[in-house]
């Protein structure tokens, strides 16, 4: 901490008392003492610095997390009117407004989840969309990143901007555009199909195609985002590795297989985890484009939680669903990191 202070433990530093030099040393020692006393004194200031963040964090993040867990063991029976309850903190007695009228049900909500067909349907839908969408998107993003990283490519800036521009598109706004692009009667996609002589597709009326529409929309919005991260990863690979591979006569595919992939692995893994969690949280796209239909073929977990909570007002049950959902997301990301870390 004090690299600029001379070392006062030198032999003889204390012996020549009274001399000018010694007084200078005294002053240094004094400065150092006050300095070392200053460090712990900074403590309270540090608490002031973190206080605003920490108070908001506790109120709006830590407490709601705990409260979700708590709620998941209750049945919600409406907002409590003027109910208050008392918390006895020894010397002080605090009056706390009761947040909601609740009926304790133990593990009842969790048991109900096991037999809830619509929950499993939403799990299946989300997994189905995820299993197709994430590999396609990451594959495209990687291919684009490699192409944009090629030394011969010109107008790089233009291409990168154009491909990344969906990053700035508002989620609900772009979903609405896709709703119309995939309109059965007048949508641009069916028009494009007609020009190549294909039959129009009932995108939003068939279970199969409705899911594909959601996949197309999400891929459009997030490919550029992942490309940017992967491109940064590619640019961090030392050029010498490629030169060495070239000297060994490696082909393009071999260079990709033995230099790019292993070097890019941590970034690639990160992007996969991020996209998996992102797609798991899917809500706005199915809400806007398909409304969860047809016949619940595209209802996602978050959408189901939303319906249970704010349309059926089963807030306790929806909290249990949230807890399960968060647990699943955490397990998935841990598994993905493990798998990626082993090889």
């Amino acid at each position: 901490m004090s690299t600029w202070l001379p070392n006062d433990d030198r032999p003889g530093a204390d012996s020549d008392a009274g001399s000018l030099r010694s007084r200078a040393w005294d002053r240094f020692r004094f400065a150092r003492q006050t300095y070392s006393r200053v460090v712990p004194e900074v403590g309270p200031v540090a608490y002031l610095f973190i206080a605003p963040f920490f108070i908001l964090f506790t109120l709006f993040l830590a407490f709601p997390i705990a409260y979700t867990l708590y709620l998941s063991f209750f049945r919600y029976e409406g907002v409590s009117g003027d109910r208050w309850f008392w918390v006895d903190l020894g010397p002080i007695f605090v009056e706390v407004p009761q947040i909601a009228e609740l009926q304790f049900v133990g593990f009842g909500n969790y048991v109900r989840i096991l037999g809830d067909g619509l929950f499993w349907q939403s799990m299946f839908n989300t997994t189905y969309i995820l299993a197709i969408q994430v590999p396609i998107m990451i594959g495209l993003a990687l291919a684009l990143a490699i192409a944009l990283n090629a030394s011969f490519l010109r107008f790089k800036g233009f291409f990168r901007t154009a491909i990344a521009i969906p990053v700035s598109a508002n989620i609900v706004a772009y979903s609405t555009v896709f709703l119309l692009l995939f309109n059965e009667q007048f949508g641009l996609v069916n028009y494009a199909l007609a020009t190549i002589g294909a039959e129009p597709i009932a995108w939003l009326r068939s279970e199969f195609w409705a899911r594909k529409t959601i996949i197309a929309a999400v891929t459009w919005r997030w490919t550029g985002y992942n490309m940017i991260i992967l491109l940064a990863g590619l640019q961090n690979i030392p050029q010498q590795l490629y030169e060495a591979a070239e000297i060994d006569g490696a082909s393009r595919i071999e260079k990709f297989r033995y230099v790019t992939l292993p070097q890019l692995k941590p970034v690639l893994l990160f992007v996969v985890v991020l996209s998996t969690i992102g797609t798991f949280k899917l809500f706005a796209e199915p809400y806007v484009i398909t409304g969860g239909g047809p016949t619940n073929a595209t209802i996602t977990i978050v959408q189901y939680i939303y319906r249970e909570a704010f349309q059926s007002w089963n807030l306790g049950y929806a909290s249990a669903l949230t807890v399960i959902f968060v647990a699943i997301v955490s397990v998935i990301s841990v598994i993905q990191i493990r798998i990626g870390g082993d090889n």
Partner: protein, 278 residues
């Protein structure tokens, strides 16, 4: 050698074709959105669709305004996102500064508790937040939309990471000159963090800008709607006016896309900084 050159040429051709196709696919929905916004409703639902802009953009816009006052929603969204971004940056960088540059009790445990919440999908706290806001009568207010997300774990993590690079000696010499601790923060630390602050601003702004589920639950009066909630409302009406909806989506997307063109560097560093998350 000639064989190699031919191969290279084929490779180049394939690369250009691929990149060009991707570019077209990314831009066509945006182009078509603007075209659709400028067509009268009759032309819009025609098949084959028209592929070049019409002249009805302002008529559609006026009709939209009369029906839903979308400009007000844009104003709401901009106001909420800007206020949120500014306050959150201040809170996150203050706390990040303390975690990077001070020693105090419980420093490590507090930081790890905050860090642990990074992995949670925090948007899912709608249920308890809705109940809390109903209880204190804050539903349908902007503060209910802004306050819960101010203490952003990504923000504190990012600022702590970057503030660590500020040399202690610099702070120490300022202290010698009699600067208060708070002056150290806003005169020395914050200005040195300009690029990190810009990146964080992008992350926070886009987070609030795209927030949908939570405002959908909290906001009731149409006058308070943010862009996503207003758009979802437009679509839910009985007769759907596609031309007007496309005006609304254009107004929601185009300004931010233009901002993206100008602030591309900051957007990219925001995305990369946000990706430090794990």
């Amino acid at each position: 050698m000639r064989e190699q050159r031919r191969k290279d040429a084929v490779w180049r051709f394939l690369t250009y074709t691929f990149v060009l196709t991707a570019t077209v696919v990314m831009l066509v929905p945006l182009y078509w959105m603007v075209v659709a916004a400028s067509l009268p409703q009759e032309l819009f639902i025609e098949f084959p669709p028209r592929l070049y802009p019409g002249t009805s953009f302002f008529e559609n816009f006026t009709a939209l305004q009369e029906r839903a006052n979308f400009v007000r929603s844009i104003g709401n969204s901009v106001f909420i996102a800007v206020v949120y971004t500014v306050i959150s940056i201040l809170l996150c960088s203050m706390a990040g500064f303390a975690f990077a540059k001070y020693e105090f009790r419980f420093k490590e445990p507090i930081f790890y508790v905050i860090l642990a919440t990074l992995v949670l999908p925090i948007q899912l706290l709608v249920i308890p937040l809705f109940l809390m806001m109903s209880q204190i009568g804050w539903t349908d207010t902007f503060r209910a939309i802004i306050l819960p997300w101010l203490a952003n774990p990504i923000g504190i993590f990012l600022m702590r990471q970057n503030m660590q690079s500020i040399p202690d000696a610099l702070l120490e010499s300022a202290r010698m000159d009699g600067a208060t601790e708070f002056q150290l923060f806003y005169r020395i630390a914050l200005p040195a963090m300009r690029s990190s602050v810009a990146a964080l601003a992008i992350i926070l702004f886009l987070f609030q800008w795209d927030l949908f589920l939570y405002p959908l639950v909290i906001l009731e009066d149409a006058a308070n709607y943010t862009i996503p909630v207003a758009l979802a409302g437009l679509e839910g009406t009985q007769r759907v006016y596609y031309d007007q909806i496309m005006v609304a989506t254009s107004l929601a997307i185009i300004p931010l896309a233009i901002l993206f063109l100008f602030l591309q560097k900051q957007f990219v560093s925001g995305i990369l900084a946000g990706s430090l998350k794990e």
